[in-house]
């Protein structure tokens, strides 16, 4: 390696006199100079990285996209005589353990040994958690005797207890038994769902509003007592007023309860009797069935319909069954609200710092320290921000706000605990370097000539920045914002400390004054993934949900990134041309 590449060529030329340039080229045979193996190692690493990324995205997309596609139901007779029915979810090869092998019959063992001790198995989603106590069952190929796809098996998505796989025995319509008829059941089920929505509306909306107002009245009394003293005339006046209002509200509440009881009683009269593959039956109100379909009799159009309706449910409704089913609307809402709020905080801070660094500061030790600080902000682990957010924002700042403005609610914290405000402030701190760096880049890209032109026309420095530099840099700044949003939307660790919850009782925005409730905890897509994948009773049951949520979150973030990159590229093209 110590010789320069010319030497061997020259040496070779000395031995065999060069007659032509072509001949000389052929003689350059020092393989170490081209470093081909090393090049392949380098290129291989890049290819490996690209394959990893592509494979990763592909796997997430594939799993996420196929989740909602209706699968057929198979009825499997096992060698043990047991019969199961379920959706085949996935299959894989595995090594049969010695203890299992010992228990098998000779024929089965031969089957396994024919495959070098490996066996194929399929995971069936047998559902019916209320009857079996489990949702899934692995079936190895050696224990499977007979597989059929019976047409009378239906799949039910229930409001509670997850899915059910089985036949429909008979119906009860308006209290009278009726023979099963798919059309009839469909009609009655959609009517029952409307009743269910009504019940929901009364429970959540109307009774919720009454409860909220009752709470407000109680707080008003407490507030007056705290401010004026228990026996003061002011407090007594407030209490009297509140008490009369409370009595009124209680009457409304009773009325709503009555109405609820009525609808429920009516609802009880519409039922279906379902039978699982083993013959056990379950009675179910029609209103509890979210969706049902004959899995093995679906046409392509039916399947597409179910697929789309599941996506719609996923995007537009609330979760059920400990978040493993239903939708993620509150999580989407929480993510978006928190991210937007974060941008409100991060934008001025980031832009001002970038302006300082690029336009105002003299480059020297101070800017060097600022840059180190920016870099540190970018490099400090996100969980540390979470700790800081919890300790400083929630406990110190929030605790102070509570003591000043909400003494009547103590010891229950209002701002003194995690909430969407503190979460977005914490994330703002976390993402500010992204905005600073992008804004600096954008400011640097504004041609010097424009600045000089403006100054030469007599504009002051700030006028130049405001009217010439900032508008020109705006797309770049927007890029920074979008990147910051992408970063903030995907961050979970700090949120776990400052206000994210697995199931938020209420959205941060609602119809009650002041409409925007910054102190409320919220749900988040990223945390939803963590929660469903790791905290639910059965991670396998939650897995489809996790994949779909992951896909959604990834799509969100990739879209934001792609947008940012697109804007940046356009910007580059715009400014790379000749300046005026």
């Amino acid at each position: 390696m110590h010789d320069t590449p010319l030497q061997p060529a020259r040496g070779a030329a000395a031995q065999a006199p060069a007659t032509s340039g072509r001949r000389l080229l052929r003689l350059t045979a020092d393989l170490s100079a081209t470093g081909e193996p090393a090049l392949w190692a380098l290129g291989g690493a890049l290819a490996f990285g690209v394959i990893l990324i592509a494979g990763f995205l592909f796997m997430i997309s594939l799993n996420g996209i196929v989740t909602f596609w209706p699968k057929p139901i198979e009825r499997v007779e096992l060698a043990s005589g047991q019969v199961i029915a379920g959706e085949p979810t996935r299959a894989g090869r595995y090594r049969v353990g010695q203890d299992v092998l010992a228990k098998l019959s000779g024929e089965q063992r031969a089957m396994v040994q024919a495959q070098d001790g490996y066996a194929d198995r399929t995971l069936y989603k047998t559902a019916n958690f209320d009857l079996y106590g489990d949702d899934f069952r692995w079936v190895s190929d050696y224990e499977r005797k007979n597989v059929t796809a019976p047409n009378d098996f239906y799949l039910f998505e229930r409001q509670q207890w997850g899915t059910f796989v089985g036949r429909i025995k008979h119906l009860a319509i308006d209290g009278k038994p009726a023979a099963f008829d798919y059309r009839l059941m469909q009609r009655e089920q959609s009517a029952a769902r409307k009743r269910f929505a009504q019940i929901r509306q009364i429970e959540r909306g109307d009774i919720g509003a009454v409860n909220y107002q009752l709470d407000q009245q109680r707080l008003a009394i407490r507030k007056a007592v705290l401010r004026h003293g228990e026996d003061s005339p002011q407090a007594k006046a407030v209490a009297a007023r509140a008490q009369s209002r409370i009595a009124e509200l209680n009457k409304t509440f009773a009325g709503l309860q009555e109405r609820l009881k009525e609808i429920r009683a009516h609802d009880q009269r519409y039922k279906a009797t379902l039978e699982e593959v083993g013959g056990r039956t379950v009675d179910l109100e029609l209103s509890q069935i979210v969706r049902f379909y004959p899995a093995n009799e679906l046409s392509m159009i039916d399947k597409i319909g179910i697929y789309l309706s599941r996506w719609w449910e996923f995007l537009s409704s609330e979760p059920r069954e400990a978040n493993t089913q239903g939708g993620v609307l509150p999580a989407i809402f929480g993510t978006v609200a928190m991210t937007l709020l974060m941008v409100v905080f991060v934008a001025p801070f980031g832009v001002i710092t970038a302006l300082y660094l690029r336009e105002y500061a003299r480059q020297g030790r101070l800017t060097s320290i600022v840059r180190i600080s920016v870099n540190n902000l970018a490099g400090v682990p996100s969980i540390v921000y979470g700790v800081f957010g919890l300790g400083f924002f929630a406990y110190t700042l929030g605790g102070g706000i509570d003591a000043l403005f909400y003494p009547e609610r103590l010891p229950n914290p209002t701002f003194g605990t995690g909430g969407v405000l503190w979460a977005s402030l914490t994330l703002a701190l976390l993402t500010v370097p992204v905005v600073i760096v992008a804004t600096e880049e954008a400011l640097a890209a504004v041609p010097r000539s424009m600045r000089e032109g403006s100054l030469a026309c007599g504009a002051s420095k700030w006028q130049t920045i405001r009217n010439v530099v900032l508008p020109k840099a705006l797309p770049g700044i927007m890029t920074g914002m979008i990147l910051a949003m992408a970063r903030g939307a995907g961050e979970v660790a700090p949120l776990m400390l400052v206000g994210v919850v697995k199931l938020a009782p209420a959205l941060p925005v609602d119809g009650f004054f002041p409409f925007l409730h910054l102190e409320r905890s919220f749900m988040h897509l990223g945390f939803h993934i963590f929660d469903v994948g790791f905290q639910s009773r059965n991670s396998e049951a939650g897995k489809p949900m996790v994949f779909v949520t992951t896909l959604l979150l990834l799509a969100l973030i990739v879209a934001m990134n792609a947008g940012a990159i697109y804007i940046r590229n356009r910007l580059k093209r715009k400014y790379s041309g000749p300046q005026f």
Binding site: L31, T353, E359, G379, G391, G490, I565
Partner: protein
């Protein structure tokens, strides 16, 4: 700054002077002065932006200062908040005393049965009562841990249970009896009851309750010493007591109270057993007796320094398990007590020494039950003989009193003297002390009724720097060690706060992440910056940048629920893949070398890149197919069983580890000694021909490396080294390998972009110059570009490390979260960040765990601060140098 800014607009003046030369008649006359608004706007803007810019520094410092402020109270020692002393009016020697948890009412019991309830802050007597002992003389008294239930032993061998102290109730503020007299600033007294105002405005009411139980005959001789415990649950309490009489006969009794749920009737069953003779020396006297709450252990001490331990796990058959001298000759055991949780035995000697013993299972001990009392700690000695030791009810602290009137509160686990008090009066009189139930003060009562009260607050007595970062011997452990266990399964077990396993876990995860990530990222960065067409670069780079903002929760989920089971099932294929992938690429390279020049030139660039990718796919598939065979040949068909040390030797693994090393050694040796000859040999053969010969060389080298590696591995095994139990140990599904791999996935984009930026920042003329001199791109890259960009590349790796150190979600989800300290690739770990994420949501604000977790955050902050600042300084220097070139 602001002055220069303000000056600029006034630069508009010169044009005005120009205008005077021109025709002035048509020019509308207007003020040439810059308007005040503009000047002020300018000033405000400059000021705001400067302050805003500097806010970044404030933010970083603010975070650090805030974290530090939360941590600080934990390191500081407690503070004394007040003290009082007075003389109680009692006639007889005080035998027992107790106090309530609010430090309001104390109760003393005199030898003649006189019970006095007094107000602790003022010493005023609230109630006086006399227990009627019916002419018997009190010879021994002992209370339970809470001190309010006591057992009295008499000189005729009888026993009586008693209760002294107070009951607590709440009186509504409007029900406060009229005529209550203020005792001090907060307590009022009325009719023998003490009322204390509490936060809600109501009154806590304490009423003295002193009751004496019936006489029970136990022995014929006087009772010398007693111990009394109440255990079991609230519904089914067990009462246990141990006694020793003047004849040296020790007894243990246990009463089980069973309450009939239907009738509420209580039945008491009492069992008494005589303990076997302890073999007391002729002139020795028993000085203390202790019993555990479940009555399975009794410990006696004598004044000749011997300790006697009885094992009563089979209650009917007590065994003298162990007798041991635990203090030096001529020293007697003058005080002893069991700390809360009943694991640690505190022994005070007549020489002032204080030591703590654990009962541990030891092999080779001559005790009857396999356990032995082992001295775990020696606390700093007191100036005079210890006369009393009493444990705190909340933690592992205890108070000792010596004959010279010194009172010391010691926390046993953290080996720290919390408070040192000095009695001011009547030092010659023996006295005993207790820690108040809430561990916020000490009450000392001398035998003659002198009372001292010290109030203090020490919210974190269990924390010292040594506890956090050093080895601590915890109860129930065999030896001192680093342990993290902030929440224990049992109430009585103490929390263990060593940060070392967490720091270790953090570094371990970061190490494996960089081990996988850094080479790939750097190689990819060099390739992108030096060897590919700019179009490839402009698609690959944004893709990598996008990867940077991928939510790590997604990576963690994939790692834990997809990758970990997969790797576990196919560990042999994964292991083989580590070798097959590079091998495949090298094979590709050598084949490429052997191809005719025309083919090489034609398919260089993107097709070649696709070939590399194809090689990865092919070798990946081969590894998948050959995995079982590979496992069969090297690891007896079961790698996981092999790692657990069930079969086989360490040779196969060492062979794999040494294979790359021996290849490198052989290749280097070949070039060093035969390089010239080889080059001369290849001369004139043309590229493709030389390439064909080079394949041969490679295969020979590879075979040689295999042989060499196997020989060395066998040698190492023969010397007795086995990697198992060290770097390799039993396999867990969520392990460092998976974490490292997925975390590498998170750091690769990071390192890649920064390193690529650094390589790209090397001025183009250097590259052009090198190439113009005839260097190949490979030579240019290794000899010109890399050395120039080295510092920038290094800072990229440091940044990647900073990221790996702080990564949270991946580890939370995929690392198993076991705080262990072992280098095993196949075991789990718990990092600082994961620990915070898991425990902080449940930690009580300002509690010890809360503050320790803040310390963990501060540690993390400082770690990354150092790494990032270092990286940034290096990067700034690099940029300056690169631009100067």
């Amino acid at each position: 700054m602001s002055t220069t800014n303000a000056d600029e607009p006034t630069g508009a003046k010169p044009p005005s002077s120009d205008r005077q030369d021109g025709p002035a008649s048509r020019v509308h006359k207007r003020s040439m002065q810059t308007s005040k608004r503009v000047i002020w706007g300018e000033k405000v803007a400059a000021w705001t932006i400067t302050v805003g810019g500097l806010m970044v520094i404030v933010a970083v410092l603010g975070i650090m200062v805030f974290l530090f402020r939360v941590v600080l109270p934990m390191i500081g020692s407690g503070s004394e908040s007040g003290r009082t002393s007075y003389q109680l009016d009692v006639a007889q020697k005080i035998q027992w005393f107790s106090a309530d948890e609010f430090q309001t009412i104390g109760t003393v019991l005199g030898a003649d049965g006189e019970v006095v309830n007094f107000h602790i802050p003022t010493g005023r007597i609230i109630a006086r009562q006399r227990f009627d002992f019916a002419g018997r003389n009190l010879s021994a008294v002992q209370g339970t841990l809470e001190r309010d239930r006591i057992l009295l032993g008499f000189d005729d061998g009888t026993l009586r249970f008693a209760r002294i102290g107070v009951t607590s109730a709440t009186t509504r503020r409007d029900a406060l009896p009229a005529g209550a007299v203020m005792l001090d600033s907060q307590d009022q007294i009325h009719d023998g009851q003490v009322f204390t105002a509490v936060q809600t405005g109501d009154y806590r009411t304490l009423t003295p309750v002193n009751e004496l139980g019936a006489v029970e005959k136990l022995s014929d001789a006087a009772i010398v010493a007693l111990d009394y415990r109440v255990g079991g649950t609230v519904e089914r309490p067990t009462i246990s007591f141990a006694s020793i009489d003047a004849l040296g006969q020790a007894r243990v009794s246990q009463s089980r109270v069973q309450r009939n749920m239907m009738t509420g009737e209580e039945t008491v069953r009492t069992q008494t057993v005589d303990l076997p003779d302890m073999g007391l020396a002729a002139n020795a006297k028993v000085t203390g007796i202790l019993i555990s709450g479940t009555a399975d252990r009794v410990i006696l001490a004598s004044d000749d320094g011997m300790i006697y331990r009885y094992d009563l796990r089979v209650f009917d058959r007590p065994v003298l398990a162990e007798r041991q001298r635990i203090v030096p000759q001529d020293v007697s055991i003058s005080a002893m007590t069991l700390l809360g949780g009943e694991h640690s035995l505190v022994v005070g000697g007549s020489d002032g020494s204080i030591s703590v013993f654990f009962r541990l299972q030891r092999s080779g001990t001559n005790s009857a039950d396999g356990f032995e009392l082992v001295k775990a700690r020696t606390h700093a000695a007191m100036p005079a003989a210890i006369i009393d030791a009493s444990e705190g009810q909340r933690d592992k602290s205890f108070v000792v009193t010596d004959a010279a009137g010194n009172v010391r509160v010691i926390h046993s686990t953290s080996d720290q003297v919390l408070f040192n008090f000095q009695r001011a009066d009547g030092i010659d009189v023996p006295a005993r002390a207790m820690i108040f139930p809430r561990s916020d003060g000490v009450l000392l009562v001398s035998d003659k009724g002198a009372v001292n009260q010290w109030r203090y607050s020490d919210p974190h007595p269990e924390i010292t720097p040594k506890v956090l970062f050093g080895k601590v011997w915890y109860e129930g452990y065999d030896a001192p060690g680093y342990t993290w266990q902030s929440t224990a399964g049992v109430d009585t077990a103490e929390a263990k706060y060593s940060l070392m396993p967490l720091i270790f876990g953090t570094l371990k995860a970061a190490f494996y992440a960089l081990l996988f990530g850094a080479p790939i990222a750097l190689a990819a960065a060099i390739y992108t910056s030096e060897f590919v067409h700019p179009t490839v670069r402009s698609t690959v780079k944004p893709m990598m940048e996008m990867m940077e903002s991928l939510p790590t929760v997604v990576l963690g989920f994939v790692a834990a629920l997809v990758l970990a089971p997969l790797v576990e099932e196919w560990i042999s294929a994964v292991l083989l893949g580590f070798f097959a992938l590079p091998m495949g690429l090298l094979l590709g390279a050598f084949i490429w070398q052997a191809l005719p020049q025309s083919v090489v030139l034609r398919y260089d660039g993107i097709p070649k890149f696709f070939l590399m990718a194809a090689s990865i796919f092919v070798t990946g598939y081969i590894a998948y197919r050959l995995g079982p065979l590979f496992e069969h040949v090297l690891f007896h068909g079961d790698f996981k069983a092999w790692t657990a040390g069930n079969h086989g030797s360490g040779t196969p693994f060492m062979f794999l580890m040494l294979l790359p090393l021996s290849y490198v050694a052989l290749a280097y040796g070949f070039r060093r000694y035969f390089g010239h000859h080889y080059r001369a040999f290849l001369d004139g053969r043309g590229r493709a021909g030389a390439g064909r010969i080079d394949i041969l060389r490679w295969i020979v080298l590879l075979a040689g490396a295999c042989v060499l590696a196997y020989l060395v591995a066998s040698l190492v095994t023969a010397l007795g080294y086995d990697p198992r139990g060290n770097v390799i140990d039993s396999y867990q599904q969520r392990n460092a390998l998976v974490v490292g791999f997925v975390m590498a996935f998170a750091v690769i984009p990071n390192i890649y972009t920064l390193a690529e930026d650094a390589l790209n920042a090397v001025p183009g003329h250097l590259r052009a110059g090198s190439l113009a001199c005839g260097a190949t791109p490979w030579q240019t890259a290794t000899f010109i570009i890399l050395p120039t960009a080295a510092s920038g590349v290094f800072s990229a790796i440091m940044m990647g490390m900073g990221r790996a150190v702080g990564e949270t979600m991946i580890v939370v989800m995929a690392a198993g979260n076991t705080p262990v300290m072992e280098w095993n690739v196949f075991s789990g770990l718990r990092t600082l960040s994961a620990n915070i994420a898991i425990e902080l949501p449940e930690a009580v604000k300002d509690g010890t765990n809360y503050r320790v977790l803040f310390l963990a955050a501060l540690t993390l902050f400082i770690m990354t601060f150092i790494i990032n600042t270092g990286a940034e300084l290096i990067r700034q220097r690099f940029r300056k140098r690169a631009f100067a070139l």
